[in-house]
């Protein structure tokens, strides 16, 4: 098997006195789409934020393309962040800029000054996410799905090696969710981008995953293929797959 692109070992994080991650270890291999499942509030997004240094772990190791990143200073993380893009749950578009400027932002920040080159690349990125014709809209005038598409265009305009997706289908209707899932899959095929998708949406998981990991109580409880997840007899996995809470309502 290839060398992992991202290697996480024994990651521990505590927030407000509560241990969110308790020695999480996982590998992400080049070209794959790994889906990380888990309960809401279970630490999936927290884990994702560690992978580009937005949060620092209490202990553990994160190696991105051969470089240990847990001890890096904010400015030393910049080269890592150019290789690993992130799609935030609500898109996190800059609300003072229109769609065009949001998508063009990474290009301009990396020194692209030619307006026609910027316009061409923005148009191509918007076309890839089916947002052609919306370039002059402000983020406030976009729906949730559109915001995520624009955020995705912003993330891929300078194609990274890896994209981290934080709940890409959360709060979207099934049709828009389906189109986002297809988009993630097509980006992986067209641009060969490795993807790590955090979600609790089983439909999404079945559509896009090469491998699935289940995060439970701060650790990876299950790691395998879609078929292995479906056939698993582990009670924690079954509860999640079948959507059972295990609580009794009186």
């Amino acid at each position: 098997m290839n060398e992992p692109l991202i290697q996480v070992r024994d990651l521990v994080q505590r927030i407000g006195g509560q241990e969110i991650l308790r020695g999480l270890s996982i590998d992400l291999f080049p070209g794959e789409t790994l889906v990380l499942l888990g309960k809401s509030g279970g630490g999936k997004s927290v884990f994702l934020r560690h992978l580009i240094g937005l949060m620092r772990p209490i202990s553990g190791s994160i190696i991105v393309e051969g470089q240990e990143i847990t001890g890096l200073m904010e400015r030393e993380l910049e080269p890592v962040r150019r290789k690993v893009g992130m799609l935030f749950q609500d898109g996190a578009l800059f609300d003072s800029m229109n769609v065009f400027d949001n998508v063009a932002f990474p290009l301009r920040e990396r020194g692209e000054r030619d307006p026609s080159a910027v316009a061409e690349k923005v148009a191509r990125a918007l076309a890839m996410v089916n947002m052609t014709g919306h370039a002059h809209k402000m983020p406030v005038n976009l729906s949730g799905g559109m915001r995520k598409r624009v955020a995705l265009a912003r993330a891929i305009i300078s194609p990274p090696d890896v994209i981290l997706y934080d709940e890409p289908t959360a709060g979207l209707d099934p049709i828009v969710s389906d189109s986002i899932n297809k988009l993630i899959r097509s980006l992986q095929k067209q641009l060969r981008i490795t993807s790590l998708v955090v979600t609790h949406d089983m439909i999404s998981c079945n559509q896009i995953a090469d491998r699935i990991a289940l995060l439970n109580e701060g650790r990876i409880h299950f790691l395998g293929s879609v078929a292995e997840l479906r056939d698993s007899r582990d009670p924690v996995v079954r509860d999640f797959v079948d959507g059972r809470s295990g609580e009794t309502v009186y």
Binding site: E74, E78, M86, F88, A92, F94, F105, E109
Partner: protein
């Protein structure tokens, strides 16, 4: 015992806040020193701070000069010292009122807006998005605002003082019938370049206080809209108090360098 622990808590909070402010200022000046300056964003901020504050500064300067002149005249007239009104108002405007009032008004208008804007970006993950796109938030948000504030504030102070003096002349000479020649002659006699310099230094220092306090409060905002509101309030209160306290120490220090009343 309980009072002691409250005071020690407040003291450690104050020290931690000052430390954070110093670190933010250090990082900002280090970025400026390394040339990480976005000219377009800085110009936009100058327009926002300088041009956007015109009404506030004009009204503050003019009416402070006018009312101070009227009050000074009413007191000095009983001593037949009406012609001293000009220099008293001018010196007070240059040395104290112009910088302090401009600082307080800009803290309320610009500082609050800055803190709210950065705070909203923080709670909506826009600052995380900046970091994820390998853009340092200090370079992108704090440096342009700092440069714009440090350029704009001294100019706003000069404008405030200038309008205060003009209003003083108008009220003193045209409304209260002080002899214009004496008013101007005394004003010129008692006002020196050091007074203008003191005014500019204070404007510069107050600008720095406002921008670093506002940006720090915005960058540490949390808990959604409530947190942004809290950050905005904290900005206005802290900046205003800081201006008033630092003004005293600046006055004492600058009076050693540029003594008043030694002419």
């Amino acid at each position: 015992m309980r009072m002691l622990s409250i005071f020690s808590g407040l003291f450690s909070t104050l020290i931690a806040s000052l430390g954070e402010l110093a670190m933010l200022a250090g990082e900002t000046f280090s970025s400026i020193g390394r040339g990480r300056i976005r000219v377009g964003l800085t110009l936009r901020q100058i327009a926002e701070i300088g041009f956007g504050s015109q009404l506030v500064v004009v009204v503050t300067g003019a009416f402070t000069g006018a009312v101070f002149t009227a009050q000074a005249y009413f007191q000095f007239a009983s001593l037949n010292m009406e012609t001293a009104v000009g220099p008293v108002v001018t010196l007070a405007m240059f040395r104290e009122l112009g910088p302090a009032l401009t600082g307080l008004m800009v803290a309320g208008r610009v500082g609050a807006a800055m803190s709210a804007e950065i705070g909203t970006m923080k709670v909506t993950q826009q600052i995380d998005a900046l970091r994820a796109l390998a853009v340092n938030p200090v370079d992108y948000l704090v440096v342009p605002r700092t440069l714009a504030m440090l350029i704009s504030m001294p100019l706003l102070v000069v404008e405030c003082v200038g309008l205060g003096v003009l209003a003083s002349y108008y009220v003193g000479v045209e409304v209260l019938n002080i002899t214009g020649v004496y008013f101007l002659a005394n004003m010129q006699k008692f006002t020196e370049g050091s007074d203008i310099f003191m005014s500019l230094i204070k404007g510069f220092v107050f600008g720095g206080l406002i921008v670093f306090i506002s940006c720090r409060e915005g960058l540490r905002a949390k808990d959604g809209a409530v947190g942004v509101g809290r950050a905005t309030t904290a900005t206005v209160v802290t900046s205003s108090l800081a201006i008033l306290i630092v003004n005293f120490f600046l006055t004492m220090a600058l009076n050693i360098l540029f003594p008043a009343g030694q002419r």
